[in-house]
Each structure stands twice: as structure tokens, then as C-alpha cells.
């Protein structure tokens, strides 16, 4: 017997068949099925679901048709949801079944193959159809469009029998089709009516570079050319194109790729309002409230999206409403483009052509094949085109989406975030150029080939999914940029860059960190269950991501009021020691400012001997680490250490870690300030401070900077006339040099500025943000304004910090003295 709750089904009772509302989906493509997936996550049992798809296949990754055409992937590899998936989720799937009529009065849909299905909710995901130029000969054999598996098969078949192909349309899809046919051995000419390629995504200089590199691959181009007729050959197939100017071009195959039109025929015949798509509101509802629409068939605020990333955003929203959560809104998307031609790096987003009020920042290096243009309007980035080096596309995309002020970034904006390649990447910033065996994630030993293969095989679209499936970028995160590049180059436009400012705290909620904090403050919430109830958490007691965050937000918002919840703390903070890989712990007593005494050293030595500590190590933070302590010995060791006045060094916490000091003017012949004394004062002031992430300080007595102040969260450098304060440095995963905050004359003022700075960080940073991440988001100017210029604000912040830290006690002594806390450390016996 186990202690599971008693099952009441021991006595067989009558089987009650619950009638669930019926959801019918018309269309079986990526957007629609993504909506169902999102719905099943939220409300798995809410509906009886029936899907009609006109193609004979289950849902596949339309975006990867180009690699299939190019012979880089097989059809089987691009199936996203096989038939088992539909079956496992109780979804009735009708393939090769085209819905031809909707009766909105009796709420039924009718298909061409005679099926009738009732609905309570109808989801239209009818997608789009390729636009066919209405020119003579458009219906000849040998004229294809490029939209689905059947088209792709037809092109592959044609490539095996014929030699010459023409692609009409020099847009994204046309170029991918041309490249694919070329890879299959055909000679291919791209005919484009506009003066340059991909004019909807690229400006002329970038398009010229693209054209050149495609020409190098053997493609030919006829630009500014309008086709007037397709000529029929003797065998009845198409044999040539005639252009407006009367010239002709011989061919054996024509692929038309001149754009798509939302598929609205069905909706229109049912009397639903359509205008360049099925018109929906921000909840993806059509003019009939029982009928929703999602995907390429939709017109939202006058825009029909043809790239998959916005469609996935829509899918999330429509699922939210079908699940009757009713809180999501779709407000339109900023789209970005990536071309999926292996080896070509191209990115464009936003208003890349600029407007009357915009300014361009341009870098052009034709010989190296690099072109970058950023379009700024006022203090915001509104568009970008990158060719040849797209390493920073995710960053630009985030700046665009967040509509962030970029004034202070402007001088180096064009040169990117410089965030890649600090550790273990040999300075490598271009994932595309790396070989398959190149190690991308140094923490988990994941190479490029594995990541790309997993993205393709598992049909992954988001960074989070790649982290779950490959572990790449899931530990230290320094390879995130590289992994994002791999995602983008593998799935192209389907890749959804990080949501930026609108990032949900975790999968348990749709609320952002900021919204959660606001609720805690405004509603005076004091416990985790209160927060979860108020914000309608989706899981009963959260997860390992949100619980520690909520605990921190509570205790930092309501010091002395909100009670700390040990069970919501990571083990290190619960056991006040660092867990090691064998399950033992390490103990680091605090040595204030890195100073110690013979008594303390004797106590440490005695403890090491008494508890048979296998390893003693001097840490980088000027302290002594006792490694390999058994958990049950911890309280006893602490009690022994406490007798000599040693307290916890919090070496395990998202909290104040160390204040590193040099010897300063007390001893050093170069010293200008008493760095040890100031360091000790700072460390005493900040003792017991919990923070979003760990906090490290340093005080150097002169600009020689022996305490390494330049890579600390707060670094202080003594100069003859006072102190320079630097903030947001980082010596860890990404080495980031601290930025100058201000110069100050007196020790007291240093304490106030540092205290105010750290309190602002405590109040505003997201949990697990280091100071560098936080400042990257809010900008140093804002921080300067709050803690340097606004004296009243500075004082208030400092006072709030001092209040929070009032009577901060040593956790070691507290636990050793409190029997009820000791259970955590005791082992029971069998």
C-alpha cells in the first residue's frame, strides 16, 4: 500500500458520459495545431475536438519545405504532429477533407467528402493560398505554385526530368524555391518585377549582396521584368515566358511565387466579415462570437501575417480564450525575416526602409560581404537589416519589441551587444560558420550538430524548448546567443526571440516579474499561497523557478512582515551551505573585508580537524572554504565556529557575498584610502542582505586596483580626493567591466550611495538578474538619476535598505540555537 489518496473507484458505478462542448477546427496547419497544443496545455479535457484538413498529411512544418526541396531534409522529418498525437489527445482528425460550408444557425460544418460536424466553438485556420498571376498560360502543365507538400513533391519530380526552371517572384519563398531547384541540379532563373530582391524585407544594398552570393551559387536573375504570358509548347507543357517588352525566355518549369492571399472563401460564404483576411479582434474572435480564426487567414488590425512567429503568438491568445481564461490579448507583432538558404546570413525587421523622421546608421563592407543598417526614430530603434553578420539579430529584435530607449547605446549600437563568446567559445560569435562538431554549450557538452538535429527532429521553435531537449544554454547561459542563432538559421522566421519585457515569470503564470511584484506591493500580499491565489497561478504550488522568486519578492517587499518560506528556497539557502556534487556541503565563515585573526584561524583549523574536513581552500573572495562537510554535522560545526565569533559568509545565497579589499593606505606605500576599513564597514552594513542574485563588492585603495573593483557588482576605487564608484561589473560567466557611477568624497557618502544602489537593485531587478543584467535593461542613466542626482531618493532608498537589514541575525547561530530548525539536518534511521 502506498499513501496515495484513496481511490473511490473500487466499487464499479455507472459510467457517466460527460458531454463536453465541441470544438471544430477547419484547417490543419501550423498555426491551428499550435493553438490546439496551447489549449491542451491549459484545459486538456475541455472540448471534444475535431480537425478538418484538406491535405492528406497530419500537421507538418511548412517552413522546412525549402530544406526538403533542397534535399537537406526528408518529408518524414518535418512532420510536427503525427497521427498518434491526434489520437493520444482524443482529437478526431479528418484528412483530405475540405470543409465547403458553415451553417452558423444550426452550428454545423459540411465537408466535400460528405462529413457533417456540429460545433459549439469553431476555429478557422484555413491559411492562405498562393497568388497566381492571371496571365495567359497560368494553368498550363509545368506551372506550379509553392505552398505545400504536393507542390514540393511536384517540383522534386520535375527536377528529376527537366533541366531549366524559372521562378517568378524574388521574395523569400521564391528565392528558397530557386535555391532548392538549383541544389537539385536545374539551371534556375529568378524573374522579379521589382528592381531588387526581397524588397519587402531588404533595402537595395543588402539585396545586392544577396543577389551576388546567390549568383555565386549559380542562380540567374532577371530583375525589373514583368511576365505577360506563359507560352505553350508542342507537348502541351509550358515552354517559355514572354515579358512585357516582348522578349522571351525558354524554360521547362515555372514556379510562381508572387505572394499569398488569405484563404477567406469559406468564411465569406458563411457571411463572416472579411477584408484582406477574416477580420478578428484582439481576442481572435470573428464577427460571430462562436467562431475564432487564427493564422495566415486572419486580418488583425488590418494586417495579415505571413510569417509563423506572429501566428504562434495568435495561437497562444486564441487558446487562452477557448480555455475560457479570457485574459490574453493579441496586439499585433513586430515581424522579422530570416532567409533559409544554407550559408546565407540575413535578417530584417521593422521599418527597415526608414521614414521621413528616421535616421540610419550604416556599416557597409562589400568585400567582406557584410552590411548592417539600423533605423532609428527619435531615441528608439524601429528597423534593422543585417547581411553577412546576424550575430546580434536577437538583441536588435528585443530592442525593437521593447521599444527601448537606445540613446546611451547609440555610439556602439551598430557593433552589437558584444555578449557572445566570453567563455569557452574561443571568441566565436557566428554559429552559422561553425562545423557540426563545434561545442556550443561548454557546461553540458552539446555540439552544434546535436542542437540542429534536435531542433529539426523534435520540431522546436523556442529557446526554452531547445534548453529542455538538449540542455544547451540551460546552465550558465553564456551560449544563449549562439543557440538563438542556430534556432534562427534552422527554422528561419518561425523562431521566436525572447519575449523581452513581456516575459512571464515561469510556466506557472502568464504574469511578468514586474506584475507579480506590483501585486505583492499594492495588495500587501504576505505569503506565497496568497500571491498564487490572487494572481490565479496555473499550478497548485508552483515550480522550482517561481517559488524561490516569489519568496524573494515577498521578503524584500515586506521586510519583517512576510515570513521566509524555507521550502521555497534552493537547498543551499535552506541549509545555509553549498551543496556539492556528492551531496556533502561546504562551509565558508565570513571574514569581514577578507581580514581574520589568529583566534578565527584556530577555530577554523579545529573545526576542520574535528569534522574531518577533507579539503580546505582559500576562495577568490578572500575567505576560507571548508569542503566536504556532512549535512548532519553542519549545525555542530557552526556552533563551534560561533564560539570564536565566526558567522555565516552567505557563500551559498542570492545575497551579499564578499567585500574584497586590498590593504590600502593602512599598509601600502601607494594606498590613498583606507580600503580595508571601508570594506569592513560596507560588509557590516550589508550583512544579511538577500538580493535577486549574488552581490559581490570590492574596495581598492588606489587606481592600481588590487581588489579587482572593475568586475564587481559594486567596485570602489580610492583616489587621492575620495572614491570612484563603479557598478554592474561581472567576473563570472560573461566578463563585464563595471561602469562608472559617480565620484564621492567621504566614507559616509559611499555607504549611502552603495546602499541606495543595492536597494534599487533589490526593489527593481528580476529574481536571478545580476546587477549587470538589470542595468542593461533599465540603463545606467536611470540608476544615476535615482542614486546620484536625486538626493532625497538616495536617502530614502538607503533608509529602506537599513530598515530591511535591521537586526539581521546570523542564520548559523539561529539554527544551532533553535531545535525546531535542526530537523532539516537530522537523518532518520530505518
Amino acid at each position: 500500500m502506498t499513501a496515495h489518496p484513496p481511490l473511490n473507484s473500487l466499487q464499479p458505478g455507472p459510467i457517466v458520459e460527460r458531454t463536453r462542448p465541441k470544438l471544430v477546427m477547419v484547417g490543419n496547419g501550423m498555426a491551428g495545431v499550435r493553438a490546439l497544443e496551447e489549449l491542451l496545455k491549459l484545459a486538456p479535457d475541455k472540448y471534444d475536438i475535431t480537425v478538418f484538413g484538406s491535405e492528406p498529411h497530419p500537421n507538418y512544418n511548412r517552413i522546412l519545405l525549402s530544406p526538403v526541396l533542397a534535399g537537406e531534409m526528408t518529408l518524414k522529418e518535418i512532420i510536427l504532429n503525427d497521427v498518434d498525437w491526434y489520437e493520444d489527445h482524443g482529437i478526431k482528425l479528418n484528412t483530405s477533407s475540405r470543409v465547403t460550408r458553415i451553417d452558423r444557425v444550426s452550428r454545423q460544418v459540411f465537408s466535400a467528402d460528405g462529413r457533417v460536424e456540429k460545433y459549439d466553438r469553431l476555429l478557422l485556420a484555413t491559411g492562405s493560398t498562393p497568388f497566381i498571376l492571371p496571365i495567359p498560360g497560368h494553368d498550363l502543365p509545368g506551372v506550379l505554385s509553392y505552398r505545400d507538400i504536393a507542390d514540393t513533391d511536384a517540383m522534386i519530380e520535375a527536377a528529376s526530368r527537366y533541366h531549366h526552371a524559372v521562378v517568378i517572384g524574388g521574395g523569400l519563398l521564391g528565392l528558397e524555391a530557386a535555391n532548392g531547384l538549383r541544389q537539385r541540379g536545374m539551371t534556375v532563373t529568378v524573374v522579379h518585377v521589382m528592381p531588387w530582391l526581397m524588397e519587402r524585407q531588404l533595402d537595395r544594398p543588402a539585396a545586392e549582396l544577396l543577389k551576388k552570393s546567390l549568383e555565386d551559387r549559380g542562380l540567374q536573375f532577371k530583375l525589373g521584368c514583368e511576365t505577360s504570358e506563359l507560352i505553350r509548347g508542342e507537348d502541351g507543357r509550358v515552354c517559355a515566358l514572354r515579358f512585357k517588352d516582348g522578349t522571351t525566355l525558354a524554360t521547362e518549369l515555372v514556379v510562381m511565387s508572387v505572394g499569398i492571399r488569405p484563404n477567406t472563401a469559406l468564411a465569406e460564404s458563411a457571411g463572416l466579415f472579411c477584408h484582406r483576411g477574416i477580420v478578428v479582434n484582439d481576442t481572435l474572435q470573428t464577427f460571430d462570437p462562436r467562431i475564432y480564426a487564427v493564422g495566415e487567414c486572419v486580418s488583425h488590425r488590418g494586417i495579415a501575417y505571413g510569417l509563423v512567429a506572429p501566428l504562434f503568438e495568435q495561437a497562444k491568445v486564441v487558446a487562452n480564450h477557448l480555455a475560457e481564461y479570457g485574459i490574453a490579448r493579441y496586439k499585433g507583432s513586430v515581424t522579422s525575416t530570416k532567409l533559409k538558404v544554407t550559408g546565407i546570413d540575413l535578417f530584417s525587421a521593422g521599418q527597415f526602409m526608414g521614414t521621413d523622421d528616421s535616421e540610419d546608421i550604416v556599416l557597409s563592407d562589400p568585400a567582406a560581404g557584410i552590411y548592417k543598417k539600423l533605423v532609428l526614430e527619435g531615441d528608439q530603434l524601429v528597423g534593422a537589416v543585417l547581411y553577412g553578420d546576424t550575430a546580434d539579430s536577437a538583441w536588435y529584435m528585443q530592442l525593437l519589441k521593447d521599444a527601448r530607449k537606445v540613446t546611451e547605446l547609440r555610439p556602439h549600437l551598430l557593433f552589437g551587444q558584444h555578449h557572445l563568446g566570453d567563455s569557452g567559445h574561443k571568441g566565436e560569435t557566428q554559429a552559422a560558420s561553425l562545423p557540426d562538431h563545434a561545442e556550443i554549450c561548454g557546461c553540458n557538452g552539446v555540439c552544434k550538430g546535436t542542437i540542429v538535429k534536435t531542433i529539426k527532429e523534435k520540431g522546436l521553435f523556442t529557446l526554452e524548448e531547445v534548453r529542455q531537449h538538449t540542455k544547451a544554454s540551460s546552465s550558465c547561459g553564456s551560449c544563449t546567443g549562439l543557440v538563438e542563432q542556430l534556432l534562427a538559421s534552422t527554422v528561419g522566421g518561425a523562431y521566436q526571440p525572447t519575449e523581452g519585457l513581456r516575459q512571464a515569470l515561469c510556466g506557472c503564470t502568464d504574469h511578468t516579474h514586474e506584475e507579480v511584484r506590483k501585486a505583492i506591493r499594492e495588495e500587501h500580499l504576505l505569503t506565497i499561497p496568497q500571491v498564487m491565489a490572487f494572481l490565479v497561478w496555473k499550478t497548485p504550488n508552483g515550480c522550482a523557478t517561481c517559488r524561490p522568486a516569489l519568496n524573494y519578492y515577498l521578503i524584500s517587499s515586506w521586510p519583517h512582515e512576510a515570513r521566509d518560506d524555507p521550502q521555497s528556497r534552493f537547498i543551499n539557502e535552506r541549509a545555509h551551505a553549498n551543496i556539492q556534487k556528492d551531496g556533502t556541503f561546504s562551509v565558508v565563515p565570513r571574514l569581514w573585508g577578507g581580514l581574520t585573526t589568529p583566534t578565527e584561524l584556530r577555530a577554523i583549523a579545529n573545526a576542520a580537524e574535528k569534522y574531518a574536513v577533507p579539503t580546505l581552500k582559500i576562495t577568490g573572495g578572500q575567505r576560507i572554504d571548508l569542503l566536504g562537510v556532512k549535512k548532519k554535522d553542519l549545525p555542530h560545526m557552526w556552533a563551534d565556529l560561533a564560539e570564536s565569533g565566526l558567522v555565516s559568509g552567505h557563500a551559498y545565497g542570492k545575497s551579499l557575498r564578499t567585500v574584497k579589499t586590498c590593504v590600502g593606505s593602512e599598509h601600502c606605500r601607494f594606498g590613498t584610502q583606507r580600503s580595508m576599513a571601508l570594506g569592513v564597514r560596507l560588509e557590516k552594513m550589508l550583512f544579511g542582505m538577500w538580493s535577486p542574485h549574488k552581490v559581490k563588492l570590492a574596495v581598492s585603495g588606489c587606481p592600481r586596483n588590487c581588489a579587482e573593483s572593475g568586475i564587481k557588482d559594486v567596485g570602489i576605487i580610492g583616489v587621492d580626493s575620495g572614491y570612484e564608484i563603479y557598478v554592474a561589473g561581472n567576473g563570472g560567466i560573461k566578463t563585464v567591466v563595471a561602469q562608472f557611477l559617480c565620484k564621492i568624497a567621504s566614507d559616509d557618502e559611499v555607504l549611502e550611495v552603495v546602499g541606495a544602489f543595492l536597494q534599487l537593485y533589490r526593489e527593481q531587478a528580476r529574481y536571478l538578474d545580476r546587477t549587470v543584467h538589470w542595468i542593461e535593461r533599465v540603463g545606467l542613466d536611470f540608476v544615476k538619476q535615482q542614486v546620484v542626482e536625486d538626493l532625497e531618493q538616495r536617502r530614502a532608498l538607503h533608509e529602506r535598505l537599513l530598515f530591511a537589514l535591521q537586526n539581521a541575525s546570523d542564520p548559523w547561530t539561529e539554527i544551532a540555537a533553535n531545535p525546531s530548525h535542526l530537523k532539516e539536518f537530522e537523518v532518520m534511521s530505518f
Binding site: 497548485p540 504550488n541 508552483g542 534552493f570 556534487k581 537530522e826 532518520m828 530505518f830
Partner: protein
């Protein structure tokens, strides 16, 4: 006939927490208590790198391993997808506030 051995009372384990039960010749057992006072027992070893699951964070009916964040189901010991692995479950019994473990031969 299953033999049960009393280990401790329910309140010896914090809600959403765990305790370690040491055995003489076999690996430790982790005893978990959920928010609803259900009790589960697993071998105190993550299938990944043998991390002590007893030190993990308990959420609903899962525990997250403290070493590398694998999420293990308390009911069946299975790692949550996409990770693959399984930890042995140990029969546990809760009656009148007392928690007992099966005391057969230490086969787990």
C-alpha cells in the same frame, strides 16, 4: 505479508519538504510530504548523477533535483520529459499520522 516499519510521524516532515532515512547497507531513502499531506518515498538518488533528491524543491507531486534541476515524479519516480530516467519508489504507508516503510529485505 508485507512488513511495515514505523519511521516517524507526519509532522516530522515539513509540508512541501523531505527527510532522509538512512539504511545500514543500502542507499538512503528520501521521504516526501506534499502540500496535501500525501507521503511518498523514493531512493535518495537522482537517475541523472545520483543527486540527493531529499534536498530538492517539492512542488505538487514532483521534486526538482538540487544538482542539475531534473524533475522527478514522486508517484512513479519517472524523470519528466524530455529527460529520461527513473528512480526506485519505495512502498510507504501513512496511518494515524505515522509513516511506515516496507521492511522487507533491503532490496531497493
Amino acid at each position: 505479508m508485507t512488513q511495515w516499519k514505523k519511521i516517524c510521524t507526519l509532522d516530522e516532515i515539513p509540508r512541501l519538504g523531505a527527510r532522509v532515512v538512512a539504511r545500514e547497507t543500502s542507499p538512503n531513502i528520501a521521504l516526501f510530504r506534499t502540500a496535501e499531506d500525501q507521503v511518498f518515498a523514493l531512493l535518495d538518488q537522482c537517475p541523472h548523477k545520483q543527486g540527493p533528491l531529499s534536498q530538492g524543491l517539492v512542488t505538487n507531486t514532483h521534486v526538482t533535483c538540487p544538482l542539475h534541476g531534473w524533475k522527478i515524479g514522486l508517484v512513479n519516480g519517472q524523470a519528466q520529459e524530455p529527460d529520461v530516467g527513473c528512480t526506485a519508489t519505495i512502498p510507504v504507508h501513512l496511518e494515524d499520522g505515522w509513516i511506515s516503510l516496507e521492511s522487507g529485505p533491503e532490496s531497493h
